[in-house]
C-alpha cells in the first residue's frame, strides 16, 4: 500500500468518528507530517495526500521535522485554529518505509543528523542513541537490562493493540540476546521500520460538540530546538529540547508532571524512553532505568507509558508518529482503548522527538 493510500484510510476513520462533519466542506486546511521523499520518490506531500483523501482543493502543507514531523504538524494546526484563520483543520502524518532495504532506510533516516560531522563519520541513528546510552550508563549506572525492560513492556502493550505493527510479546532474554546494531543497543532496543499514517481533526472548543460526542481538549503545546549535531551539546544524558518543550506545555496546560495519567513518549530506542521519563519530570535525572524496572510505567502501573506499544511495538512510520501518539491518547481519554484501557485517565501527554533531539514537541490533553 502506498503512503497516500494509508493516509486516505486514516482520514476515512477520522470522518467516521465525526459523523456530523461534512468531509467535503467541513475541513478548511491540512497540515501533514512527512520526513523523507526518498522512501517513495515522492515529494510535495501536502497535495498528494489531500488528493487521495478526497479533500481537494483546500490548502495542504507538508511539515518536515524528521521523526517529529507530525507532532509539529499538530502544533501548526493549533496555530491555524487559535489564530482565527480556520475553524476546522486536519493534521496528520505519513511514511512508507518497509519496501526499502534496511541499509537505504538507515541512510535516509541519518539525513536527520548533521551531514559532515555525523553521517560522514559513519554515524547512524541507532549509533547516536547508542552514544546517549553509553553516556547514561556511565553517568548513572543505567543497565542494558533496564533498557531491555522498556522493550519487554512496550511489546506487552503492543500485543493488545490491533493496529500495532508487531503484536507480539518478547522476553528479556530475547532482547538481551538479539544481535548488536550499535553497541550497547541491540535489535530489540530499536523501534520498527514501519508503514503508517495517522490524522486528527482539530477545531475550537465551542464547535467540538457539534461534530462529536467524544472530543478531547488539547490544553498545552510546547516545542523547542537544539543543535543538529549531538556532539555540539553540553550533555548527552538528556534532551534539552524535550525538557524545554515539556516546560512550555505544562505551563500552558497549568498542570504538573505528577498530574499526567497516561503518556505516549518517543521510544525510537529503549534508552530514549528512559530519557523521556527524566526530561518530562516523571522521575529525577538518572532514575529512568529504575522507574521501568519497578513496573511503574506498565498499563497497570502508576503512570502508564506507551500503552499503544510505542514506536517499539506499534511501530515508527516516522512522519506519522506524532499524530499516532495523539490518537492513542484520544482513545485512552475517551475510554476507547479496549484491552489496554487505563482506568480513569483524565490527563494525557505526548512527547515526539525529531532526530537525536534537535526538535521536540510535547502536547498535553484533557478529557471532556
Amino acid at each position: 500500500m502506498y503512503g497516500r493510500e494509508m493516509f486516505a484510510e486514516a482520514v476515512k476513520e477520522a470522518f467516521e468518528r465525526c459523523p456530523n462533519l461534512d468531509p467535503k466542506r467541513g475541513v478548511e486546511a491540512l497540515f501533514v507530517g512527512h520526513m523523507g521523499e526518498s522512501f517513495e520518490h515522492q515529494g510535495h506531500t501536502g497535495p498528494t495526500m489531500l488528493d487521495w483523501a478526497g479533500l481537494l482543493p483546500i490548502p495542504a502543507t507538508r511539515v518536515e521535522s524528521a521523526c517529529a514531523s507530525s507532532g509539529v504538524a499538530l502544533r501548526c494546526g493549533i496555530f491555524a485554529v487559535l489564530s482565527g484563520m480556520h475553524d476546522v483543520v486536519m493534521v496528520g502524518g505519513v511514511e512508507k518505509m518497509t519496501h526499502r532495504a534496511t541499509s537505504d532506510v538507515t541512510e535516509f533516516l541519518a539525513m536527520a543528523s548533521d551531514f559532515p560531522f555525523e553521517q560522514w563519520q559513519g554515524m547512524t541513528f541507532p549509533g547516536l542513541y547508542a552514544l546517549i546510552a553509553t553516556a547514561h550508563m556511565h553517568r548513572y549506572g543505567t543497565t542494558e537490562e533496564q533498557m531491555a525492560m522498556v522493550a519487554v513492556k512496550n511489546h506487552r502493550h503492543g500485543a493488545l493493540n490491533p493496529k500495532a505493527h508487531m503484536q507480539k510479546e518478547v522476553t528479556l532474554e530475547q532482547v538481551m540476546s538479539s544481535r548488536v546494531i550499535a553497541w550497547p543497543l541491540k535489535l530489540f532496543d530499536c523501534s520498527l521500520i514501519t508503514d503508517g499514517a495517522s490524522c486528527l481533526i482539530l477545531t475550537k472548543p465551542e464547535l467540538a460538540g457539534k461534530f462529536t460526542d467524544t472530543p478531547v481538549h488539547i490544553i498545552g503545546s510546547g516545542q523547542a530546538s537544539d543543535a543538529i549535531g549531538l556532539y555540539e551539546r553540553e550533555e548527552f544524558t538528556t534532551l534539552k529540547a524535550a525538557k524545554l518543550a515539556a516546560r512550555e506545555a505544562y505551563r500552558m496546560a497549568k498542570v504538573e508532571s505528577r498530574d499526567v495519567d497516561v503518556a505516549e513518549v518517543h521510544d525510537c530506542f529503549t534508552i530514549a524512553e528512559i530519557l523521556a521519563y527524566e526530561d518530562l519530570g516523571f522521575c529525577k535525572p538518572g532514575e529512568g532505568g529504575g522507574l521501568v524496572e519497578k513496573g511503574a510505567t506498565t498499563i497497570e502501573g502508576n503512570l502508564p507509558v506507551n500503552t499503544s506499544g510505542g514506536l517499539k511495538s506499534k511501530g515508527h512510520p516516522v512522519g506519522a508518529t506524532g499524530t499516532a501518539q495523539a490518537y492513542e491518547i484520544y482513545l485512552q481519554l475517551t475510554e476507547q482503548a479496549e484491552r489496554r484501557q487505563v482506568k480513569d485517565a483524565e490527563i494525557g501527554l505526548t512527547h515526539n522527538v525529531g532526530g537525536s533531539g534537535a526538535t521536540a514537541a510535547v502536547h498535553i490533553y484533557r478529557r471532556e
Binding site: 541512510e107 560531522f117 559513519g122 552514544l131 556511565h138 549535531g229 549531538l230 555540539e232 548527552f236
Partner: protein, 111 residues
C-alpha cells in the same frame, strides 16, 4: 582546526560563517592541540552502505583540550578496550575523499 570569532573570542566546531554568540563575521581559523578525552562511544555493527566494508567500527565523541566536542571514528584500539575517559588524539587520512564534502577525513586514535 576550529573557528575563532575575532570580536568575542568564541571558539567553535563545526565552523560556522556567522558567530553564533555575537553574529560577527570576522572569523579566523585556529589550530587546536588535537588531544582529547573520550566522553561516550558506540560500536556500529549495522552501517550505512558506504561504510559497510569497515563494520564493525567504533565512533565516539571527544572533548578536546580547548573544551570543544568532536565526533569521529576511533581506530587503532580494539572496541572491547575502549572506555569512557581514555585519552585520544586526532589524526588525519592522507587521501582526500573523492565525494562531497571533500574535506580531509579525521579520526581518533590512542596517543
Amino acid at each position: 582546526m576550529a573557528v575563532k570569532c575575532r570580536s568575542c573570542a568564541t571558539l567553535f566546531i563545526p565552523p560556522k560563517n556567522v558567530c553564533p554568540r555575537c553574529f560577527s563575521t570576522e572569523l579566523e581559523w585556529t589550530k587546536l592541540e588535537e588531544k582529547g578525552r573520550l566522553l561516550t562511544y558506540t560500536v556500529i555493527h549495522v552501517p550505512p552502505k558506504q561504510f559497510q566494508p569497515e563494520a564493525p567500527y567504533a565512533v565516539g565523541i571527544i572533548k578536546l583540550e580547548e573544551g570543544l566536542h568532536l565526533l569521529g571514528m576511533i581506530r587503532g584500539i580494539k572496541p572491547e578496550e575502549i572506555k569512557v575517559g581514555i585519552n585520544l588524539i586526532v589524526d588525519f587520512d592522507t587521501d582526500m575523499p573523492s565525494q562531497w564534502p571533500m574535506w580531509p577525513q579525521y579520526f581518533f586514535r590512542p596517543p
